[in-house]
């Protein structure tokens, strides 16, 4: 055995000496450094690109490929999604929507290039997301990433997007920690941030209870729930709203939250704010509140629970529960007369026939809409249809989509406004009709940068 040890030591020594001598395998794949040579057409285009990069805080010389080069042929977009694992069934409709959107918008957006979407499985684990993103960037050589779901997962992709200069347009997460354009300008986000949801709540509360109220807060033990907790703490500071009871709920807890409701009811609160994980816990909580005979003056639930499919099971108990809607639900009563939404649904049915359609499908569609809109805007700008052009457009874009509730607008203007959606449609649940009744729109455009994103 000692002989083996000696041999092993010799082998290790050999390895060490040869590493000093031989070429390093670590330089492959990146392609070395490239200069932003004048390959992007006119001379004014080059300085525009440099200006744009400087504005976004990008060092073009560190990019392994030239991101100012115009795109041609079929441009690859990569995505990571949980295709296997416990959360996969809930996220599957997103992929249906995204794929349909790519096919539909390729045909209708009038762009000179076509886009293709390749999605890899990440099992909702950030470490697997990172590897899948690496595979997409190194092997599939995607020019863009899109649609990564989950705050921790987006956080895993951000540094890679930065390193390979592959824009993530957009990431699908509501956590403030990943909206960090100063550090990671290559990552934009899509969707309603948790902070904005809570801001909408407190706006309503201030209107309804000018003399303040006692608030009970329930949050999920997830990163989203922690965001809600932080936002509630921040927004209630210095106001007449006192948070008298804080309870939490595990995302995997399948028990009805009976003891939490008992605690909150016993605290004497007359307002209930709740952020639970989207899923059975939404209706479960609403049910429990009713079963305890508790009728708070205001019951506001997270907009993740706003899908009708998640609220309907609560039945009559959900009467009067309020939420901030932002996604246009295809099963809502107003959907039938919403021409824009119907067009989207038709496109999904055309390109992904036979797949069930729900709110997540539509939201998947709208994720890709952001990308294509940015591409269209880039094509008309002086940056052209290049990686940098599309990224710049995404950060300076305003548009309306039929996938969102009418009146809500995607609006970003780097660096002052880096939160994509800052408006909400306050709604109340009508249990008899099984529908959300719209009340009013709160628009905080430009006000939440630094709160719903990392403060710069």
């Amino acid at each position: 055995m000692s002989k083996k040890l000696v041999v092993r030591a010799l082998a290790t020594l050999a390895v060490v000496t040869t590493t000093a001598a031989c070429s390093s395998p670590s330089s492959g794949g990146g392609g070395g450094k490239s200069t932003p040579a004048g390959t992007s057409g006119t001379s004014s285009g080059q300085s525009a690109a440099q200006k744009a990069a400087a504005e976004l805080g990008i060092d073009l010389s560190k990019c392994p490929t030239d991101i100012t080069k115009p795109l041609s042929g079929t441009v690859k977009i990569g995505g990571t999604l949980a295709l296997t694992g416990p959360v996969a069934p809930a996220l599957a409709p997103l992929l249906v929507g995204e794929k349909a959107a790519v096919d539909d918008l390729n045909a209708t957006s009038g762009l000179p290039v076509k886009f293709s979407l390749t999605v890899k499985d990440d099992q909702f684990a950030p470490d697997k997301t990172a590897v899948a993103a690496q595979e997409l960037m190194q092997s599939d050589k995607v020019d863009f990433m899109s649609g990564t779901v989950g705050t921790a997962n987006v956080a895993a992709v951000e540094p890679l997007a930065q390193k390979y200069c592959v824009p993530l347009i957009p990431g699908n997460a509501g956590g403030a920690s990943v909206d960090n354009p100063k550090k990671y300008p290559f990552t934009t986000l899509w969707g309603s941030p948790s902070y904005v949801d809570v801001k909408g709540w407190f706006q309503y509360l201030q209107e309804k209870f000018p003399n303040g109220a006692k608030v009970a807060l329930m949050t999920a033990n997830t990163d989203s729930g922690l965001n809600y907790l932080a936002a509630a703490n921040d927004l209630s500071k210095g106001t007449k709203f006192q948070i008298v009871s804080k309870t939490t709920l595990d995302a995997t807890d399948t028990n009805a939250p009976s003891s939490q409701v008992t605690t909150m009811k016993a605290s004497g609160a007359n307002v209930l704010l709740a952020s639970v994980s989207p899923g059975p816990q939404c209706a479960s909580l609403v049910n429990e509140v009713a079963q305890h005979g508790w009728k708070p003056d205001a019951f506001l639930i997270t907009n993740s629970c706003s899908t009708l499919a998640l609220m309907k099971p609560a039945g009559a108990a959900a009467q009067g529960v309020m939420t901030n809607l932002w996604l246009n639900d295809p099963s809502s009563a107003s959907a039938a007369s919403d021409a824009g939404l119907q067009k989207i649904l038709a496109a999904i049915k055309k390109y992904q026939p036979g797949q069930p359609i729900n709110g997540s499908t539509v939201s998947g569609y709208s994720v890709m809409q952001v990308f294509f809109k940015a591409a269209q805007q880039a094509a008309q700008s002086n940056l052209g249809l290049s990686r940098l052009g599309i990224l710049y457009a995404a950060w300076h874009m305003t548009f309306q989509t039929a996938a969102w509730v009418p009146g809500l607008v995607y609006s970003m203007d780097f660096p002052n406004d880096v939160v994509n959606l800052e408006a909400e449609q306050l709604s109340s649940f009508d249990a008899k009709a099984g529908q959300w009744e719209k009340i009013k729109i709160y628009d905080f455009n430009g006000q939440t940068t630094g709160k719903a994103s990392v403060p710069s």
Partner: protein, 387 residues
């Protein structure tokens, strides 16, 4: 098997045997060194991930395969190491290698403590103790959010590559992580191998096979079990620390019961109670979901991949009873025959134990353990005079 096949007879510990083992060792080292030149960097990251799991399974195998104690909570030790490294490096400015040492020591102590309630228990009860420990861990992580980042996760754990030419390129970090994990794997395997081949190791196996007899023969159950548990936990914890620096992001959901189940599956599929089995197990645990996911991306919106995974595990249980390693042994058994070294003072004729190395003999009354061809444990299916 009446017609004897023409096979090469290798006498145990002869020059030929040693030579073959040397070749094998050199081939492994060569492969490890050559891989970065052969595959793309993301594949290297995947291999790094698979080998990180392999390290945990090496530790788990020590406890369950050689020690015979089912552990349904090993993900907790993995997580303990990951979070310890994460917290020390991000919040207290400790360097990564020092944090690895802290991981090992801390986990050893915790593991030894966990062994105590499990001492007098058997069968499913041991499993339950470890299950409880394994489940408490994510709950504690979530609870002490100010320390661990809680459900939101811990970000920014890293261990940068040293400033040398070899690690200097664009993918230097990936390469560095690969080497870190490979060294960790090599060390763990070495530790386990030496432990099992020592007198201590014989005690471990003896306790597994017949506890009462072992105690009567003088094996100290408490210390042996505690040290086994501790070492197994320490190895798992080292893997956790490596996981933390190679991934940078830690969330409590990554260390759930699901991970433990995958690790167990990996250990059993690779080959329980063997030395190379855990490495196969690590690759299987890492890659089967990846392949299932690739399958699934073709057909959108379906979770068939998860069904495949479950089905594959069940099928493998029936088809590969002794794991992948058993299959390999059977394959090499077609070519080589390992003949044990005959003690010179007996008068027995050197009988040919047909297919000793290839026999996938399953010992009745215990988890599968095939005598490794370089393992000096005196447990042979047809041992007659030896105890």
């Amino acid at each position: 098997m009446s017609t004897p096949r023409r096979r090469i007879t290798v006498v145990e510990d002869s020059m030929l045997h040693r030579g073959l083992r040397l070749v094998r060792a050199a081939a492994v080292v060569g492969l490890v060194y050559a891989l970065p030149y052969l595959v793309e960097p993301f594949r290297l990251s995947q291999i790094t991930g698979a080998c990180t799991y392999a390290i945990v399974i090496v530790g788990l195998n020590l406890l369950s395969g050689f020690g015979g104690q089912v552990s349904l909570g090993h993900a907790a030790f993995f997580g303990l190491g990951a979070y310890t490294t994460g917290i020390l490096t991000t919040k207290h400015g400790v360097s990564a290698p020092v944090s690895f040492i802290v991981d090992i020591v801390l986990a050893f102590v915790v593991g030894a403590l966990v062994a105590l309630p499990a001492l007098r228990l058997k069968g499913i009860y041991v499993a339950l103790v470890t299950l409880a420990v394994g489940l408490i861990f994510p709950a504690l992580v979530t609870k002490f959010a100010s320390l661990t980042g809680g459900a939101a996760g811990l970000f920014g754990v890293e261990y940068g590559a040293p400033n040398t030419a070899y690690f200097g390129g664009f993918n230097g970090d990936t390469l560095w992580h690969y080497w870190l994990v490979m060294i960790g794997l090599g060390l763990s395997c070495l530790v386990v191998r030496n432990l099992v081949r020592s007198r201590f190791g014989r005690g471990v196996v003896a306790l597994r096979d017949n506890e009462a007899a072992a105690i009567v023969m003088g094996v100290r159950r408490t210390s042996v079990r505690a040290v086994t548990f501790g070492t197994s936990a320490a190895i798992g914890s080292l893997a956790g620390g490596l996981f933390a620096v190679t991934n940078g992001i830690l969330t409590p959901t990554a260390f759930s019961l699901l991970l433990t189940l995958y690790l167990l599956a990996g250990m059993i599929i690779g080959g329980t109670g063997t030395f190379w089995g855990p490495i196969f197990g690590g690759f299987i645990v890492y890659y089967v979901p990846v392949w299932a996911g690739d399958l699934s991306s073709v057909d959108s919106g379906s979770n068939l991949a998860g069904v495949f995974l479950g089905a594959i595990i069940i099928v493998i249980t029936f088809v590969l009873r002794s794991g992948v390693l058993g299959l390999l042994r059977a394959a090499t058994g077609l070519v080589f025959v390992l003949q044990p070294r005959i003690p010179t003072h007996t008068t027995r004729a050197p009988a040919e134990h047909a297919g000793e190395a290839g026999d996938v003999a399953r010992r009745p009354g215990g988890p599968t353990s095939t005598p490794a061809d370089d393992l000096d444990v005196p447990v042979r299916p047809d041992a007659s005079s030896r105890i």
